[in-house]
């Protein structure tokens, strides 16, 4: 297929064919990472700006490494050290970056829709590295990449996503990618964190982890954010862990060959016991490795589309 997107904003707007195309491209780039010389000239001469208006270490590092391996020039901007902290608008910041001839902007932002806002106003390509509670498309892509790599397929795979679905951009991107590729998705958590509206996407919802645990091929655990507890979504991490944590006794009931995933950072002892995170089911570090390949693919594909005329 011919790739035509200059931006990667949300998996909700992508077709299954496009998603598979990214995965196949990522598989080729993964081989590059195994070479002694881990660099290709695909984006030589292009400038990539990592604009991280919200804190992130692993995603920013992953994008930076991906860009470096594609031979792009990389500039990192974080909110604390930028004009954004002095009250400059996102639009003006972006226009300035464009005036400096940035080709690609990787945006992490606390506001849902921020990357769409930028993409609509810039000729440069915009890659969404997480926008509020909306989407984190490269995480969704690396998750399905990892499942496909390990299990050989996505279609018909039974995937459970556990935890803070309501506020999770990872969950939204995972749900989009998995359902488009034919997986059977179950969302697991207390009703306060699992909005029933997701049912319209053809996923199953349950608050009984133990009832479904044994049938899952993949268990994807989301980080529980402590601020949710303050807002009254659950009474405490102890009760949460007892109901929804993947501890050793639950892990013992997993299917043979089932995958345990987590987008990180992990809260050991809350959503996931240390022994399980480091155990035989865990593919958590594969996810990190694959994230690099997926981001190389995304940057390569979007960076190769000619920019549209600026407004």
């Amino acid at each position: 297929m011919k790739w035509t997107r200059k931006d990667l904003l949300a998996l909700s707007e992508m077709s299954a064919e496009e998603i598979i195309f990214v995965l196949d491209t990522a598989a080729e780039f993964k081989d590059v990472g195994r070479r002694r010389l881990k660099k290709v000239p695909s984006l030589r001469g292009k400038t990539l700006v990592n604009l991280f208006v919200e804190a992130s270490t692993r995603t920013r590092t992953s994008f930076e490494l991906a860009a470096v391996r594609l031979s792009a020039d990389v500039v990192n901007i974080t909110a604390g050290g930028s004009s954004l902290s002095k009250g400059e608008s996102l639009k003006d910041t972006a226009k300035n970056l464009e005036a400096l001839a940035a080709d690609l902007i990787v945006l992490r932002h606390s506001a849902a829709g921020a990357s769409r806002f930028l993409a609509a106003r810039l000729g440069a390509g915009v890659i969404n590295a997480g926008d509020g509670s909306h989407e984190h498309p490269t995480q969704g892509l690396l998750d399905v990449f990892t499942i496909r790599e390990r299990l050989g397929r996505i279609e018909g795979v039974k995937v459970g996503i556990v935890g803070d679905i309501r506020f999770s951009r990872v969950a939204r991107s995972d749900i989009q990618a998995l359902t488009k590729l034919g997986a059977e998705v179950t969302l697991i958590g207390p009703p306060t964190l699992v909005p029933r509206e997701f049912g319209r996407l053809g996923v199953r919802l349950t608050d009984r982890f133990d009832d479904v645990l044994g049938e899952l091929d993949v268990v994807n655990l989301l980080r529980i954010q402590h601020e949710r507890q303050k807002a009254g979504h659950f009474p405490g991490t102890g009760e949460y862990a007892s109901l929804f944590g993947l501890n050793a006794s639950r892990a013992a009931r997993l299917k043979q060959g089932a995958l345990v995933m987590h987008p990180g950072p992990i809260h050991r002892g809350i959503e996931l016991d240390g022994s399980v995170a480091d155990g035989p089911h865990s593919v958590i570090l594969d996810q990190v490795t694959n994230g690099l390949a997926v981001r190389m693919a995304v940057l390569y594909l979007c960076g190769s589309v000619p920019p549209k005329e600026g407004e």
Binding site: L90, A112, G113, F117, E135
Partner: protein
């Protein structure tokens, strides 16, 4: 310029008198009169509807304090361009209109630069903080027509109850932006439902509005003070309002064009021109609002004209202020939806909801063509087709979700006190 006018040959619709007949309307010295005014401006109204000037009881003129968004001058020009001869101004200015001095300033400014009549409201509480009663009596003496903490619904029921009792002394109605702050948390920015879930935008549920409508029904019943529920968005609110009114409770409600024209799906591209408070809800809510309009549960139509500067709206969805402009598109939208598309109202009923009904709510001697009334008249072409072009707005602001919409029905001349305040271009 003469403030006398002879408007001849139109279809005269005056719901306050049950009048709907071909005829003439005469204005002498700024007042409606029975005989042609000598030397009055002659206006040919053949093919047009001649009705009392429209009254919008929910307008944010933004002055004092927010002149970058709108001024009394530009806001009243926008009103005239939309067919409105009178506007009721909300008190969420800066400083808040919670004091007779600010009311007096607004009236003075409106007399200097306003092209339509301006009737201020005063805040219920000092600074609209929801705690200490504002000097309602002094503001009543200064000329307010209602009290409201619009945008900052009084959360303390005891404060609201005492305010309602106190307003009874002055016969002032209370306007309430019905919203429970705990259910509509500080992060909420759209209707809670499928689209908020998909878009990752915190939503607020219908019950945030309905709980306060229910409270206001109880307070209105207990105190006898008229409480008017502003810009209803939820179908459940209509049911609560209907039930209260059937029992004779002095509770009323209004509906704005956007809440019957758009649903929450409109937010899907994070366009901040669809960010308003209360939020756009679902088709079932639209259906319930239309039913409430059709059966008389809702008797007033308003705009919630909420201008903002472009730079304020052209930001991330979370960072944008709530609200859209409405004065210049409302009549076209109401005619298109209520008359032409849905057929829920006959033309005289629609006109009543823009004239006699709001006038009665706030105690104005307007919204009527009876002899001696102020010469405020709107000439309406309910079948005129036009396209919304925000670049032509008289308002300072451009924040409308209706740019490019093709509408049917438009005011073509707005007459205030016997003088033409605005006339449509050819």
């Amino acid at each position: 310029m003469s403030n006398s006018m002879n408007i001849r040959g139109g279809r005269v619709i005056d719901p306050s008198a049950g009048r709907d007949a071909a005829g003439d309307v005469f204005i002498a010295g700024g007042k409606i009169c029975a005989e042609p005014a000598e030397g009055g401006v002659e206006v040919d109204a053949r093919g047009l509807v001649v009705c009392p000037g429209f009254i919008d009881i929910h307008v944010h003129l933004r002055e004092p304090g927010h002149g970058a968004k709108e001024t009394i001058e530009t806001g009243t020009r926008a009103a005239a361009a939309g067919g409105f001869t009178s506007v009721v101004a909300m008190p969420n200015t800066h400083p808040v209109a919670d004091h007779p001095g600010i009311i007096a300033w607004m009236l003075e400014r409106a007399a200097e630069v306003g092209v339509v009549n301006v009737f201020p409201t005063g805040a219920i509480t000092v600074g609209a903080q929801g705690e200490q009663l504002a000097p309602i009596g002094a503001m009543a003496a200064a000329g307010i027509v209602a009290v409201t903490d619009d945008g900052r619904c009084v959360q303390n029921h005891e404060v609201m109850r005492r305010a309602a009792e106190y307003c009874g002394m002055f016969g002032l109605p209370m306007f309430d932006h019905c919203q429970d702050a705990s259910l509509a948390g500080p992060e909420a920015m759209m209707h809670e439902g499928y689209w908020s879930t998909m878009l990752g935008l915190p939503g607020w549920p219908r019950m945030a509005e309905e709980i306060i409508v229910a409270r206001d029904a109880m307070l209105a019943e207990a105190t006898g003070t008229r409480i008017h529920c502003q810009h209803l968005s939820s179908g459940g609110s209509v049911r609560l309002l209907r039930e209260a009114r059937l029992r004779g409770v002095p509770l009323s409600g209004e509906v704005c064009p956007h809440h019957i024209a758009l649903t929450d799906e409109s937010v899907r591209d994070y366009d901040t021109d669809f960010k308003m408070n209360p939020p756009l809800r679902e088709q079932a809510d639209i259906d319930a609002l239309l039913e409430g309009i059709a059966d008389g549960t809702i008797e007033v139509l308003a705009t919630d004209h909420a201008p903002h500067a472009i730079y304020e709206k052209e930001v991330e969805f979370a960072a944008a202020p709530f609200g859209i402009v409405g004065l210049e598109t409302a009549v076209g939208l109401f005619c298109s939806i209520l008359l032409h598309q849905k057929g829920v109202l006959a033309l005289p009923e629609l006109i009543a909801m823009l004239t006699a009904n709001p006038a009665r709510l706030v105690g104005l001697d307007r919204g009527t063509l009876s002899i001696g009334a102020p010469g405020d008249v709107t000439l309406l072409d309910p079948d005129r087709e036009w396209t919304v072009d925000r670049s032509t707005f008289a308002s300072k602001a451009r924040n409308t979700p209706f740019h490019g919409w093709e509408l049917k029905g438009r005011a073509v001349r707005t007459v205030v006190g016997g003088r033409t305040a605005w006339e449509v271009g050819v």
